[in-house]
């Protein structure tokens, strides 16, 4: 009896409300004490602006943007040349999204390219963020300014994120514009929203790699080492991890005479193994968002399929389907940021 009474507390909304209010108050107090002894107003904006102009003016970013722009144009071209064959197929209602997913085979479609080049973009924006400042001797001067220390790393992250967002929205709208001109049909609102969500997802995905390389840039004094570390992680997940996963999957494969249940468990195991890869999470999420006909990601039993009417999912349902992947990506991004934040805040910075 006592236990049920006790549990009852946790199910009441007011209990959580009270806790939430307390938490918010505590956070607000924390922040106000920051701003009381805090930096000059506008200091953070100044730093973000400087970092952004550094990015945009640097050759590295110009080259990467050129590469991504070229692949975008290339895959748009192949999509447009393949789209004529798609006319008359049964999926005409999401015709516009085919611009992002279709390919005539000479080049991979746009969303696959982003999955491949996004990590490179993220790594290249972050790998020398902190260590170059330290090697140049500007970091100790920066930390001697009356600004909180985390402004440095927050500004670097924010600036790179803004540059990425700018680039991806630019590309998406470019594709939409080109599609409008070439096809002559406007996207439906739901298609447009799907494209927006796809763009946001790509930004999160690149932000993950950005944070990872930011972390390496705090860890390693040499920027070459930190770039290499970032690329090593990326290569591991694109090349070696699938190999290892395949070996494991082959070893765990049930015999052809195994029961239904063990086959199901095996399929779930395979699904889990693949989902460790951030690029797999990204490609699952994007393909679901851009292809409304994708109805499930994991293995399904016959019972679950029974009675289902094949057809495209509405946007809300597609989002619900990729919610775990999305959450996973955001969590990984935050984790990397926390790691780099922590090691940066605890580090003693000496001149050079």
């Amino acid at each position: 009896m006592k236990i049920t009474l006790h549990l009852h507390k946790y199910f009441s909304a007011t209990f959580y409300e009270e806790h939430l209010r307390r938490l918010i108050l505590a956070i607000r107090k924390e922040f106000s004490s920051f701003s009381e002894s805090g930096a000059a107003p506008g200091a953070f904006r100044t730093m973000v602006r400087k970092e952004m102009s550094d990015h945009i003016c640097s050759w590295r970013v110009v080259i990467l943007m050129a590469i991504i722009l070229l692949t975008c144009v290339g895959s748009l071209y192949t999509a447009l040349s393949a789209i004529t064959h798609a006319v008359g197929s049964n999926e005409e209602e999401f015709f516009f999204l085919k611009l992002f997913t279709l390919s005539d085979g000479s080049l991979p479609p746009y969303f696959v390219f982003i999955g491949f080049l996004g990590p490179l973009l993220g790594i290249s924006l972050g790998f020398d963020a902190v260590n170059t400042e330290q090697n140049r001797g500007t970091l100790s001067r920066l930390l001697a300014q009356p600004i909180p220390r985390d402004y440095v790393i927050n500004a670097k992250f924010t600036a790179a994120l803004l540059v990425i967002s700018l680039l991806f929205f630019l590309l998406s709208f470019l594709v939409i514009g080109a599609g409008l001109v070439a096809l002559g049909i406007p996207p439906t609102p739901s298609e447009f929203m799907r494209i927006i969500f796809f763009t946001l997802l790509s930004i999160v995905y690149v932000a993950l790699w950005l944070n990872l390389s930011l972390y390496f840039s705090v860890c390693f004094r040499q920027s070459a080492t930190s770039a290499l570390a970032g690329i090593a992680v990326w290569l591991f997940f694109t090349v070696f991890y699938p190999l290892i996963a395949n070996v494991l999957i082959k070893a765990a494969a049930p015999s052809p005479y195994a029961g239904e249940r063990s086959v199901y468990l095996f399929e779930r195991f395979r699904f889990l193994l693949m989902q460790v890869m951030p690029n797999e999470l990204f490609s699952q999420a994007t393909s679901t968002l851009l292809m409304p006909s994708v109805r499930s990601l994991g293995p399904l039993t016959m019972e679950q399929i029974e009675g289902a009417i094949p057809g495209p999912l509405p946007l809300g349902q597609s989002l619900l389907l990729v919610w775990p992947q999305l959450t996973g990506l955001i969590a990984l991004t935050l984790l990397c940021f926390i790691l780099s934040y922590r090691s940066f805040m605890r580090r003693e910075i000496r001149s050079r």
Binding site: A39, A43, T46, M47, K50, G137, T138, R141, Q145, R352
Partner: protein
């Protein structure tokens, strides 16, 4: 002496087993030029980092302008300018833009930042290098820009960590003269860390001799000599200088090159 600007008591910093600074008790008065003299690795830079609140002391306490750098580092940094050893600038920006950036971080508006930066560049003698990228600056020019960078927030205290390293003799003379003018003219407290004893002798009112993490002696040069040799005139009738004091501590070992340079 007015209420001291920098006070440390029993300040200690350990890195694992290694004690970088041990039991440092020091007072520096307002408007004073204090020289922190010691060989490389004596713990001068670590002391400075603790004064700036950039690293936490293991034990002891610090007060800078009446503030605790551990609790209020930002407030301390608003009053104290710190020129790190071998200061760096953003190479792809001009000297002026580097200064404007610092000024903006200190809360000056765009217009104020520009006019103050221009004024300071003139003051440190870089009026002709305003538009030049700092990547093309010489070492001495970088140090002077560093001084302007420190002065931009109107500090009460400036802390200079080995500021004359790698500058040619005439550059050093100009730089030291600038520091003295600032201190005398505007009442800025200066903490000058160096291992060049003749430079310290040239500019500092008081000197602290710092070896292996502890302060061996402090005071003006005459009183230091009195402390050590019980009179301030040697057997040959020559007045004891800082050099003799320094030699007494280091037994002439590591700093022979300074000997010849100042002779």
């Amino acid at each position: 002496m007015q209420s001291p600007t920098i006070v440390t008591s029993h300040l200690t910093k350990r890195y694992g087993d290694f004690t970088a600074v041990s039991d440092l008790t020091l007072e520096i008065g307002r408007g004073e030029v204090f020289g922190l003299l010691g060989p490389n690795g004596a713990g001068k830079s670590t002391t400075i980092l603790m004064l700036m609140g950039m690293t936490e002391p293991t034990a002891g306490s610090v007060r800078v302008c009446g503030l605790d750098p551990v609790r209020q580092p930002i407030e301390v940094k608003r009053h104290v300018g710190y020129l790190p050893e071998d200061v760096g600038f953003y190479d792809d920006l001009s000297g002026l833009d580097n200064l404007i950036y610092t000024a903006r971080l200190n809360g000056l508006t765009e217009g104020e930042a520009r006019s103050r930066s221009l004024q300071l560049m003139e003051r440190v003698g870089l009026a002709e290098e305003i538009g030049k990228k700092t990547g093309k600056y010489s070492r001495g020019m970088r140090q002077r820009l560093g001084l302007a960078d420190v002065l931009i927030r109107n500090p009460e205290v400036i802390i200079l960590d080995e500021p004359t390293l790698g500058i040619d003799p005439s550059g050093i003379r100009d730089f030291l003269r600038l520091i003295v003018t600032l201190s005398r003219g505007e009442g800025i407290t200066v903490l000058f860390s160096s291992h060049h004893l003749h430079q310290v002798q040239q500019v500092c009112d008081r000197v602290g001799i710092f070896v292996k993490g502890s302060l061996l002696a402090q005071g003006d040069i005459a009183s230091l000599a009195r402390q050590l040799f019980s009179c301030n005139v040697s057997a040959e009738g020559r007045e004891y200088g800082l050099e003799d004091i320094y030699n007494r501590y280091f037994e002439g070992g590591t700093h022979n090159e300074d000997h010849t340079a100042s002779a």
